[in-house]
Amino acid sequence: MRRIILTMSVIAGFFAVIAGCAGCGTKPSDSAAGKKSAVVVWHWMSDREEAFQELAKRYEEQTGIVVDFQLFAPSEAYSNKVRASAQTNTLPDIYGILAETRDYASFIKAGYVADLTASMQENDGAWQNTFFKKALTMDTFVEGNQFEVKPGIYGVPIDVTNIQFLYNKDLFAKAGLDPEKPPQTFAEFIEAGKKLKAKNIQGLVSGWGEIWMINCLADNFAWNVMGKDKVLATIKGDVAYTDPDWIKVFVLFKEMGESGVLASGMITMVNKNAEQTFANQRAAMAFNGSWCVNVYKGMNPDLNYGTFLPPQVSKNNPVVLWGGAGSSFKVNASSPRKEQAIAFLKWLTAAEQQAFLAKETSNLPANKDSLLNIPPVLRQFADAMQYAVHPSQLPYNEYPRVVEAMGKGIQLIIIGQKSPVELAKELASLKSEELKRAQKQ
């Protein structure tokens, strides 16, 4: 009998532990022990953690409301956590979504994201009007969007970003190039690369092992070569990738590969390595986002550099660059503290707090009234926001398989393993498969 009682006790203890553990993490909003009714924010931005904590402290002093910023890094781990939490309905009051627009749309359609349109537009759009116009477009779903999301604004941008070319002024001078006159056209860019190579200086470095960065430049060139309408027609399936304009875009990468303007090994390089290479002055040019200002400051505070727009290929269409909201927060649609969460985000995106974030983290603020006292290079990025577009702002998005094949194919074009025509044919065939599959579904 004693043995059975002992056994039962062990089993009961075991299930008690399991039950206890099951409670852990199910309610993120209660995890700040002792903090009454805290608004919980999940984020992945380790470089901004200190600034966020400071802002949370100030907000509590001003309003008495506790905000609990919880950092989950790296971003891949954060992204997985958010997806898993969505499945178990344990998302916090405020969180970010690190994913493509189609995934963002899935979050909205599944009811995990609150529609913020009413809050943004109250008082004649007072909150909405504080942002750069392009900052909000990534969180805005328009009427008739391909994802069939109810039109509205679903996120609050914390910062904006764009991706440009950067150049090392000292290395340019060393190669006999004018440090105040970076290349503007594609021909000038190739010429600069040759001059740098002649002085044994590597040209362009970028994290093209992460194919999204290659696609980013390919998109820039495509918009410039054929214009927005034709790019959209291609995505829609009305223009084939075998069109001469697309082949021209791929030929640009072939030319870059052959001219020696690209740094050695960059097609398999992750962006972190590329950033180190540029910061350590081992390459004269980089293709990177505005977040790099903070990164380079940490790696080499004395780096003397400037920015320039993607080199122009055609005069028929404007030069564009990838850009829009950098990081943005969403409000959990089923949060019991939804109103408090929205109020906090209004405060966080007000000019004073945005200026603080910009100063502390060297990121471009989303609030257009908080650009005072930003570093000169960051100012150049801010000025370039007028040229920024982002694929997720477009009414149609390309199929992920086509996007992947394009990035991988361009890698092979650069090293001469694939011709532009071969890639064009491959993409056309893949696109046709995807269109057929979409029709079946």
Partner: protein, 298 residues
Amino acid sequence: MKMNLNLNIIKDYATSYLFILPALVIFLVFGLYPFIQVFWLSVHSWDGISLAKDFVGMRNFVEVFQDRYWWQGMWHAGYIAVLALTFQNAVALILALLVDKGIRGGNAFRVIFYLPPVLSGIVVGLIWSWIYDGNYGLLNNVLTHMGLGNLARAWLSDPKTALICVGIIHMWKGFGWGFVILLAGLQGIPRELYEAADVDGAGSWHKFVHVTIPMMIPVFVLVIILTILGTMQIFDIIASTTNGGPGYETEVPVTRILASMLGLSRFGYACAQAVVFGVILLVISMIQLKISKSMKQA
């Protein structure tokens, strides 16, 4: 009397089962349930977020069998597995034999050889990326100093060398495991067998062929199975060196599964890939075990 006995037996069994219940529950929750879930998801179309999961039957599996990049990845992993089975294990065996012979500093070697396997794959990948770097890499530097500068290249970005370079990193990181297991196997061989072979006038080579190898067969089988399973699942080194590139030249099954899951948001398809991959590994292991059994009997 008999009834009492039966009751006691039932009680004993019940008590025993109660004690294994916690382990069973853990296995069911964290082992069997996810396993079933992967199978279930593999016959659905799901983006990993939406509430709806559409049943698609065997369509995902049909697509896996038609996915050339998936099979290219399998081929790459198989290629690295063959490299590891031959070169990595040969090096591990030679080193194990040397340490077993009692060379000076044997204990230090044990520690040194065991260091690479305990390092993080990401760290190892990054260190080797610097070695293979096209401009400032150690390898190119050494080649240039040896007058072989014409061989210098961006090793990880060249399709001719990228896969083999990744394979070398994997072998460097993995040979320590084989070394430790093989050394343990060698030290488990009764010394009397060698003494008897000495009495019979056998030389070193004959002792190796007729004593060491037959006695080591179970250990070889274990090392071979672990090498194949470990290599086929290679991921972290690829992620930190080539990210599957250039193009698809260093893609392996796990990078393709991850690409389907997170890059393409096709969780159902990724699960189908995982199921196919799991079945392939299971078949390889079973063939291996069958061969080892027949070798033992022989």
